[in-house]
Amino acid sequence: MRENDVILQTVSKVAVFIILTFGVYLFLAGHHNPGGGFIGGLTLSSAFVLLYLAFDVETVNAGIPLDYKMVAATGVLIAIFTGMGALLFDSAFLSQTFAYFDLPIFGKTELATVVLFESGIALGVVGVVVTIIISISEDV
C-alpha cells in the first residue's frame, strides 16, 4: 500500500536537519528566549516522526539504532537525579543554581544547572513520543 514518496523523502532529508537544528536551538535558547526542554524535546521528536513517516520503520531504525524506551527512562532518571544533586549541597530537592563564567570563544557565559534538568525533560519527551508512535505504527 506504500505510495510513491519521492517528494516527501527528498524534502524530509533536508527538513529533518533543519528541524533538528531548530530543536537544539530551542532547547538552548530556553533560558532567556522562547524555548526550553519540553518544546525542544517535542521539536526533536517531530523530526523523528517525520523520518518515520517518510521512510519505513526498519530503514530509520537501521540508521538510528536507539531504543527509545531507554531514552525516555534515561531522561526521567536524569530529571530526578539532578534534583537529588541539590541534596548533596544541603539545598532542597530540585533546587537550581547558576553562575557566570569566562569561557574561551563564548566570553562571559551563564551556566545554569537547570540545563541538566531540562535535558532530562527533553530526552524524556523524545523517548516517550517516539516510543508511542513507533509502537502504534508497528502494530498492524
Binding site: 524555548g35 518544546i39 521528536s45 534534583g83 530540585l94 534538568f117 532530562g120 516517550v128 505504527s137
Partner: protein, 804 residues
Amino acid sequence: MTSIHILLLIPILAAFLIPVIGRQFPKLHLGWAALPIPIVLFSFFVSKVSSISAGETFTGSVAWIRALDLYFSVYLDGLSLIFTLLITGIGSLVVLYSIFYLSKERESLSHFYAYLLLFMGAMLGVVLSDNLMVLYLFWELTSISSFLLIAFWFRRKKSRYGAQKSFLITVGGGISMLVGFIMLQVMTGTNSVQEIIAMRDSIQEHELFVPALVLILLGAFTKSAQFPFHIWLPDAMEAPTPVSAYLHSATMVKAGLFLVARFTPVFGGEATWFWLVSGVGIFTMFWGSFSAVRQKDLKALLAYSTISQLGLIMSLFGLGSAALQGGASAESVIYTKAIFAALFHLVNHSTFKGALFMVVGIVDHEVGTRDIRKLGGLISLMPITFTLTVISSFSMAGLPPFNGFLSKEMFFTAVLNANEMTIFSMDTWGLLFPIIAWIGSIFTFTYSMIVVFRTFLGPYRREKLEKDPHEAPVGMLISPIILCMLVILLFFVPNRLSDYLLSPAMNSILPAYQNMDGLIPKISPWHGFNLELFMTAGVVLLGAFLLRTYRYWNVVYDFFPEKRSIDRGYQWMLARGESGSKRATDRYMTGFLTNYLYYIYGFLLLVVGGTLWLTGSIVIDTSNDAPVSVYEGIIIVIMATAAISILFTKSRMTATLLNGVLGYSIAIFFVLFRAPDLALTQLVVETVTTVLFLLCFYHLPEWSKEERSLKVRFPKMVVSIGTGALTVLLALSVQGNKMFESISSYFEDSYKLAGGRNIVNSILGDFRAFDTMLEVVVLFIAGVGVYTLIKLKEPKGGDDIERE
C-alpha cells in the same frame, strides 16, 4: 549530612550493589560480601556507647522538602542505641549463620542479601529517624523487605500466602499509624518527634489526642504481632530461618515496641494508652504462650512464643507509662521499674530467641524436619546444638543462671506493683495482671521444655527422619554460641548492661524522671525469699506438671478449633473483599468506551458544576476585558466553523484534520496574545497529535453509521453540551472571581532569582520544577503503558505461575 546519615544509607546502597557483585564474582558466596556491612555499623554504634551513657545525644538534619516540613533528621539517644546495636549485632550474626545455611548453588543469594540489607537499612531508619514522615517511610520499607524475604521461596504457595498476609496486616497498621502521625502534626505543627515530646503538655487536651494515640498504637500492634493481629507471624515462618531469627524475632517485630517506647513521653499517663498497651500486651502474652504449647512445628512454636514475649514486653511498657500520670514524683518512680524490665527483657529476648531460631534452623537443616512428633533422641548426635538449646530455652522459661530469669523476676515485680496501683481504676482490675502473667508464664515454661525434651530426649526414630542427623558445621554454630554466651554473661553482669545501655534509654523514655533516685534499679540475681521467687517456683512446678500430663489436658484446645477463628475471619474478609470488589467493578466496567465517557464527563459535570452552582461562584464580569479585535473575531469564526463541521463529517480523516484546525487556531491565538512559548508548544503538540490520531485511525474500522434514534442521542447531547457550557462558564468565572492577589509579580524577578529572562521557562525548570519532573514521569508512565498494551499481549495459555 552526619556520619549517622551516611551509615544509615550504606546498607540500602549496598543492597543495590549486591547483585552487581554477584555477577562479577560468581564463585563468591555473597554472604561474605554482605557480612562486613553490619560489622562496620555495629562497631560504629558500639563506639558511641560511652558518650551516650554519659548523657549525650547525636542529632543531624538534612533538608528534604522544606515546604512540607520534611527533614531527613536523625536522632541517636539511649533508646535508639539499644535498637541499633540489636539490628547490627544480630544482623552480623544472622548473615554469618546464613552463609552456611543457604546453599550457593541452589538459592538466589543476590536477592536474599539485597533484601536483607535493604531491611537492615530500613530498620535502622525506623529507630534513628526523628521526622515522623521519614520514620513512616522506613517503617513501610521494613514491611516491604519483610514481604520480599518471606516470599523468598516464592514457588511455595504457603510462602506467598504468608508474605501477603504479613504485608496486608502490617501495611494496614502502618497506614493507620500514618493517619495518627498526621494528627500529631496537626496538633503540634511539627514533624519532629523530639519537638512533639517537648510540647506534650499543650496537646493533651486536644480532641485529636486520643484518636492519634489509638491509630499509632494500631501501627505498633500490627507490627509487633499483638492480639488479634498476631495471626501473620506464624505464617511468616515460611521465610528461611535466618530471616525468622532476624526479622521475625529480634528486630522487625520489635519496631512496634520501639514505637510505643518512643511515644511513651507523649502519650504516657493517659488512661487509654495505659489500658490499651498493658491490656493488649498481657492478653497477647497469655494467648501466645497458650497457643505455643499445642504447636507441632518447632518454628510455629517459636513464632507463638515470640508473640507471647512481645506481649510481655508490651504490657510492661504499658504498666510503666502509669509513672507519667500526674507528672513525675518520688512516689510513682516505682512504676518506672516496669519500663526498665521491658528494656531489659527486650535485649534478653533478642539474645535467647535469636539463638533458639538458629538452633531450630540447624535441626531443620541437618535432620530435614521440624515436626516434634518425628523428632527425638538427638542429644547424642548433636551435643553442641543440644547444649545451646538448653541454655536458650531455659533462659526463655525464666530459669537461673540465665538472663531470662532476671527479667522474668522483674516482670513479676512490675505486675505485682501494678496490683497496688490506685489510678486508672486499677484497684478493681489490678489483680488480673499478676494472675494472667503467672498463668502465661506457666505455659511459657511448658513450651520451653517441649523444645528441649521433645527434640533432644525421648526415643530416637531414624525411620521418621529424612536424612542422617549429624552435628552442624562450625560456621553455623558460631552465631548461636555467641548469643548463648551473652545469655549467660548477662546473668552475671547485668548491671554493666544497665549502666551502659538501659539507663540512657530510661532517660530518653522518661525525660521527666531524668536521673531521679530509684529510676535505675540494681539488678541482683538473689533478692531473698519474696513473692516473685515463689511465683517462679510455682511456674516451674506447675509447668513441669502440665508437661507430664499434656496428654490428659490437651482436650482444652478443642474448645479453640484448629481453624483458628481469627485466622478464618481474616481469610473470610480477604475472600469477601475480592469477590465484592470484582462484582462492583464488573458492574461499571462494561467495556464500552461510550459508558466510560459518560462516567468521566458526568462526574465532571456533577462535581465541578455542582460546586460552581452551590458556592455561587458563577460570576461573569466583563468590565476589565480588552476589546475583541478583528483578527481575533476572524479566528473565532474559523474555529466555530471547524468545530461544527466535525459533527457532520463522514470520515475520521476529515474529523482529525478539522480538529487540527482548532488546535492550530489556538496557536495563532497565543501568537496574538504574545505568548511565543505557548504558541510553539501548541504548534508542535498539535502536529504530533495529528500524526498520532491518523496512525491510530488506520487501525480502526470504518466510521459506522451511528444509531440515530433520539433516545440514544439525547443523553449524549446533554452530556456534551453540558461539558462545553461548563468549561466556558468555568473560564469566565475564573476571570470574574479575584480571590487573592496575583502571584505573577514574584515570577517577574526570574532573572534575579533563577538567572533566566524567560519567565515561562524559569517557572517550568526552577520555581515549579517539581511539577515538571512529575509531568515527565507521568508522560513516561503513559508511554510505557502504551508500549506494554501493544507489545506485551499475553500469549494464549502462557505461564500462569503467578496466578495459581
